[in-house]
Symmetry: D2
Subunit: 352 residues, 4 copies
């Protein structure tokens, strides 16, 4: 299986370890004739880049993208597009002391079990740094979505116990936590910094809204839109749950409360289903919520074992995000974009 | 894309409409030499079969399975295994009056949009009846899991507002709602029957526990165990959310509360992660919760439109499950079994 | 891998053993809205059916096809189309004496080695009977090709040492060997019957011409049109070689003799390349030649070993085709149709 | 479809245009724990590299490979292995004058038709230069084969009308045409240089022998060993035909002459089938022959049209191989290695 290829018509292969030479991706199946430049992709990478605010890791990475193939005179050729991002600031020295010890909440133990070998520097490929390649790939997917005016918007719904109460999309880019509620944002930032001061970390919920989705996307029965989105989003490290529309709250409703009545051929009275029925989009906004766990890397002392099974204390001292929510937001958007672009291309063959 | 093929090493193709001639599946990639009989598969189908208790639809289907290929003298040949289940009790007459009207909460509108044509009889392929082929396929997957003693157990955690408080697996098969708490089960049954009497329906939560999972399953980065399970389970009609381990509750914990400390090379102090770290199983139980919405088919009058967009009232009178939870339980187990069998086979090539 | 699924956008899964309950296929990815009936598919199956002339096996099979799913009121639904052909005339008794002996030129030994088990009755899935499912599937592919007026035509170019010298397509259906040259056909038939009388078999060459192919089909670099066609056609049992255009003769030409000069944007002076350049169709006829070996089943006594490795004599007495060429012709057409329909659908996403 | 991903368990994605920034590949599915270094891969690339003898193009390319990911401390990690080869000697100036003109025998016209855009510099991705990524990928595949002592050997069987008459593998690396017959090699070289002097090119036949293949590889029915090898080898630009064992000569044999009698459980009297029966390897040598057309690029004046359809004369003046056979030999070996490594990994799941 090997799991590093994503998509059905638009196929993305990503590669790279946190402290290896480089990360990157190859996109196969991008239609010819799309205008794209490294500069445009860079804008998206910069949004994901670490070291941008006080609530993110201080690791500085330029994350400069280079287009290696598939683009000629500013347009896609229909051939594979390879994108390269070199690692610049590896600081491998930070990690040598954890070479033989398993960090709680991390993938150290499981990857060792699976492969019998692992790149212990910064988690290797299990590092969140891997997602830079996803965001780069999505810059192309976005170009396909934009033809249909489809827009994907992710934001912090809650951090720890602080919940957003207002929703003004313009605010999202204005605060360090990417929350659409400015005053909640301040509280969220405070919660993060307090946890960080104690050497601890916090989790939160990401809301995702997709606008202008045409009705008719999705490939039942196994590739229903929710199924593909769930797989895509659950493949982001740190995500522990997902719900669509009213989600878990649906379990406490009656059918008469849950069903969205149709008002016309393009309008429903409510959108409790979250824009998908029978696995196919209904033309309404797709509504998703993601549960993000608190960062596993904390500097508080924890019990664990080493590779021989001997009990050890561990205190993780590197540069880490005290909360993953703001960092995952652009990655979540990227994954949704990759899925929807794939479904749009697949949909060309729905009817004869 | 077309979405009716599932799995990577063990590939399952399902087919069939609710009121067509038959449903079934073809499994490609089942190793040779596995003992299997139609009788064994039948046991699983009987568990999923409608008409077994007062809380399920009264539609009577024999759901008799026939093995068409791939099995010889009681053993798998390594060739594709085709399984056939004929529809016996279609009652197409029930459905003709909804031919040109879109049922709220159903896939009628979206499938029409996508394909420009649909089998309106009982929802066609968007019917839950499609899942019979999944359960049949999983009977083979289970044979692969059993060699590792892996056991998948699903049960009703809540129905409407009634929550299970005790957990004794022996109880699951003893009540109509498949709850591990006998006294909660009675309350749940009551809630379902009351809703049904009013022509309404209820939702609920399914808990899934997977035991004896070896450490090392999962194929990061895109085919992480959670990602594959989420896709598999979200592809079941009516499921609106999924969480692993503590799930959404993780969003309110600190890292120091969330991380599972290691006690030895095969034991953690806690299992908040739900048996998976970095997308790979850690040897602990996999813990999943599924949000199931209330059945869309209700006999209470609802507003909707017809295929011309004209406002209509609709009252659905057929035979329907007032609650999907008990029916989905064996299907959820099937999907987990298919994913884990696939990962076990894929895992053969982890190391040289 | 498991190898029973074919195609990329239009995915065909076939199943079935020669003497099992049934053979069949499931097609996933057929666009909705295509008119199709069992009767139409039957026409193609009848062309492949055994027992039609003195040069084919006398095994009588009705090969009646049943559409199990995916078609409603005479049109495809966009859902998987399952087609079923039951085995009627298995005569399993014929085969029991070869249960533990490996027939020369057959797959008995290799399948035993691979799977450790085999259905020894008539070769099981390694029987040419498997191809009935391919022909059934191609009936749908043909419906996609017909919209572009694409026509695939296969015929006997040679049988043993007899070569066709004239080419009149009208003749192909008029003689038992499916040769476009009526007088050569008579000689070919004679060669086959003489070999059969001696208990022997003969081989031959199949020519394939594809007309009205639009320019632009093919997916370089690995899914070039020749690459996909070669795989598809080499997957037919008994085919030992394939060439495109002038084929092996190209190896003795100079570049100045081989290159096809362009006369206009839709015409070349010659077609030595066989309608494909750089893996993509050029709008000219696709020209293919297939080498078909003589049937492995002969009643002349041969040396072999049994499953313990002990030397044995074997004389195969069942009903067998003395020459595979006429039987393979409709199967070769089917495989070309499946590839081209797949490429046509994939091509929808060439450009933005 | 998009065609740049190859393989089922061991998946290779290649990218790159002839005159773009770089070429390369990503391998997903390589087991962990394989020792590999850039130096080892370089040895294979050097064998394919242009400019090594008087019968190959004078284009000088360093073809230096860099390992970007998937290897740590000299061993594979089980994560994707990305390999990068930068283009150094593009000389784009050479190509500007053919920007709007279609070279006969080349892919210019067909790629333009398909994508509506093309990188006209040196053929872009339709250039043979693309194969450098295949050879790099195969260096890893070879590591898997070597565990089973499988050895793939390709050599020039004929160039133009000169045929090899002796076969001594030691000679292959000793002459510029890679022929196993030293005296034929001299004649072959002469034929090539004479054609080149006239501005013309020649074709030839490549023989491939695979030794120490275990019995049991291949995935019928569609992924038979011949089918996968045919697809892999026909995907190399310039290959117009392929045959296995006696190949086309089989069409003139009787069954009694063609069948390979078994002498023991590991030995046949003959190997006319070429090491494969029923799509599965039989433990004997795999024998393949490839038809390679003469190079399309010739400096003799040819008739063609420009992008408006206007008649033009063209004389191609760049640096080109006068014969593709010696250059394709390492690429053919690479493709066979990729297929067999894939089948070896897939075969792990043949039996329970």
């Amino acid at each position: 299986m090997a799991g590093n290829i994503f998509g059905s018509v638009l196929k993305i292969t990503t590669f790279g370890e946190s402290h290896g030479a480089a990360l990157g991706c190859v996109l196969d199946g991008v239609p010819a004739g799309i205008e794209i430049s490294a500069k445009e992709i860079q804008v998206d990478l910069d949004r994901r880049r670490p070291g941008q605010s006080k609530v993110t890791t201080s690791r500085k990475e330029g994350d400069r993208v280079e287009i290696l193939s598939g683009v000629f005179e500013g347009k896609t050729l229909g051939t594979p597009i390879a994108l390269l991002i070199r690692n610049e600031n590896q600081k491998s020295g930070d990690y040598s002391k954890i070479k033989n010890i398993f960090r709680p909440g991390h993938a150290d133990f499981t990857w060792e079990k699976k492969f019998g070998i692992r790149d212990f520097r910064g988690g290797g490929r299990s590092s969140g740094r891997e997602t830079v390649a996803r965001v780069a790939a999505a810059a192309l997917a976005k170009k396909i979505l934009v033809k249909k005016r489809i827009q994907v918007l992710a934001h912090a719904e809650s951090i720890g116990c602080v919940e957003a109460e207002a929703f003004d999309p313009k605010n999202i880019q204005k605060n360090s936590v990417r929350c659409a509620d400015s005053s909640a944002a301040k509280e969220m930032e405070k919660v993060i910094l307090e946890a960080q001061k104690r050497g601890d970390s916090v989790g939160g919920i990401i809301g995702i809204i997709v606008r202008n989705v045409p009705a008719g996307l999705g490939e039942p029965v196994f590739d229903k839109t929710e199924a593909l989105l769930a797989r895509a989003l659950m493949s982001i490290g740190g995500v522990k749950g997902i719900e669509f529309g009213v989600g878990f709250a649906a379990t406490k409703l009656f059918g008469s409360e849950m069903n969205d009545e149709l008002i016309s051929l393009c309008k429903k009275k409510t959108n409790r289903a979250g824009g998908i029925a029978g696995g196919i989009t209904d033309g309404d906004e797709i509504l998703i919520r993601l549960a993000v766990k608190p960062t596993a890397s904390i500097s508080i002392s924890q019990n664990t074992v080493d590779s021989k099974g001997k009990a050890k204390k561990i205190q993780i001292s590197g540069r880490h995000d005290p909360c993953l929510v703001p960092r995952i937001i652009p990655v979540a958007e990227a994954m949704v974009q990759l899925v929807l672009a794939d479904l749009l291309l697949a949909g060309k063959n729905d009817k004869i």
